[in-house]
Amino acid sequence: MIATLSNFLFHTMLGHVVLVALETLAVLVPLLLGVAYLTLAERKVMAAMQLRKGPNVNGPFGVLQAFADAIKMLTKETVIPSGANRFLFLFAPFLTFSLAMVAWAVIPTGNGIAVADINVGVLYLLAISSLGVYGILIAGWASNSKYAFLGGLRSAAQMVSYEVSIGLIIVSVLLAVGSLNLNDIVLAQRHVWFCLPMFPMFILFFISALAETNRAPFDLPEGESELVAGFFVEYSALAFGLFFLGEYANMFLMSGMTSILFLGGWLPPVGIAPFTWIPGPIWLIVKILFCLFCFIWVRATFPRYRYDQLMRLGWKVFLPLSLAWMIGTAGFLMATGLLPHQGVS
């Protein structure tokens, strides 16, 4: 029985498809559950920081709040504004949501364990995260509303600006790794996590990740005090829900990237007995949760940036800093002969 099953799964075409589908589900189901509870966690954590109670009605400690929200969202009416571009209007949230999902294909949860362990994993992640801007831009344009449009334009400029420094920071990491494969990047941190030798870049990356996910204090695209709700001001019901899910899934993704690039991915902090007993995926989840907590912490702490300050920070501070760091890293590795040559075997 088992032999037939393994034969089916590993040696036939259809089996392969089924296997990939199963792997995908194994990643997506926990992710979606995580997203659902992240919304709850955010409200709880912020409530705690602001000396409130947060949601506590639905279920014990409010654990059913996420489902209550979901049901509410699903049962509402989808309103399409007059003059909106119908197809694009509905396409935008779908795009945002699905992009946040497909990126997980390359995230390794253990040594060599990923839905697709590809050579250019980092580039894939960068590519997918850079596409996130389309959902917002299209939503802003297709809504046929000034607030939405302004939000869309802001986000386009903002995300493109911060992608530049994200890219350069990633290049610094890649210089130290010598490979674009995410698994190799994690393995390169066996001795020391990159967040220690590259601490400034770790901070810069985290801040850029905030900007890239349009999170506070860089949530200008939705800036409710000036743009009502920015790019999704016209959205309701399921379409809004998809944006919502997409945004939180993107937070997960950026946390995952931060963990893999700087916090040693699925590696334990030190490779000795009690730590190595805990399996890799757990470590990765712990690190992701830590990053997510920081996301929420920042939101509860800092006021929103003004738009010109945001742009100044991106272009005049982060870009030169990350560029200088990249050159410094390259020079240091070259001078000390530590430059890895993994790509050239």
Binding site: L123, V133, E163, Q309
Partner: protein, 235 residues
């Protein structure tokens, strides 16, 4: 299987390329362009050039097309006006296109790479090298001069953009961030002891902190502007 995937990508690519030039709405054109980029990236993947595929998406879709879309969305393009000249120029354009096409057919009909090509050495991919590493080797080691020259081209383009468009206008209220950081509470906040029962208005309204003009970028703020009293705020 690969052939099937190739035809899917290629068909969508050609179709979306056609739509780019025939779509009535310029925003749709750009979106089709993006779709085209995606399928081109797919073709690269099929050809085993995963690095190029990702680069195409990061650079063209993730950055260039975003700015395209950004601009196109803000433009108020009247498609009918843009098409006015079409009737007049279409035959001419078609003729040029036909000639080029015929030449291409002619050229490809006799496709034959020079037979003696093996006589010259070529730079290539070392065995076991990923194509990312191979490209890096070519660009940063062998063709570094050209790489740097391309960098110069971009620098010149940047200088050009600044030279041709940047105008230092004294009207913008830009913030001088260092001055802003150096500001202290005492510069900004003035505590006044008010007699009971009398409002701020009777004491001359809200005074604007003097440091306002100091914190602003030079010339962008007029310190002699009339002080905003709370009457003029229109309570």
């Amino acid at each position: 299987m690969t052939a099937l995937v190739f035809y899917v990508f290629a068909t969508i690519l050609v179709l979306s390329a056609t739509m780019v030039i025939s779509a009535r709405n310029p925003v749709h054109s750009v979106l089709f362009l993006i779709l085209g980029f995606f399928n081109a990236a797919g073709l690269f993947l099929l050809a085993g050039a995963e690095f190029l595929a990702m680069l195409l998406i990061i650079v063209y879709v993730g950055a260039v097309a975003v700015l395209f879309l950004f601009v196109v969305m803000m433009l108020d393009i009247r498609v009918s006006e843009a098409r006015e000249g079409l009737q007049r120029y279409a035959p001419f354009g078609a003729a040029v296109g036909a000639v080029l096409f015929a030449e291409l057919i002619l050229a490809f009909g006799h496709w034959r790479i020079a037979p003696a090509i093996d006589a010259v050495p070529h730079l290539g991919q070392a065995a076991g090298e990923t194509n990312t590493a191979a490209l890096g080797d070519l660009i940063y080691t062998h063709y570094v001069l050209l790489f740097q020259a391309c960098g110069l081209v971009l620098l010149v383009a940047m200088i050009g953009a600044i030279v041709l468009t940047l105008r230092e206008r004294p009207t913008g209220r830009r913030q001088d961030i260092e001055r802003q950081h150096a500001r202290t509470v005492a510069d900004t906040l003035e505590l006044r002891r008010l007699p009971l029962g009398r409002s701020v208005r009777e004491l001359g309204g809200f005074a604007r902190p003097t440091s306002y003009s100091e914190a602003a970028a030079k010339g962008s703020y007029d310190p002699h502007a009339p002080v905003l009293s709370d009457e003029s705020r229109g309570e």
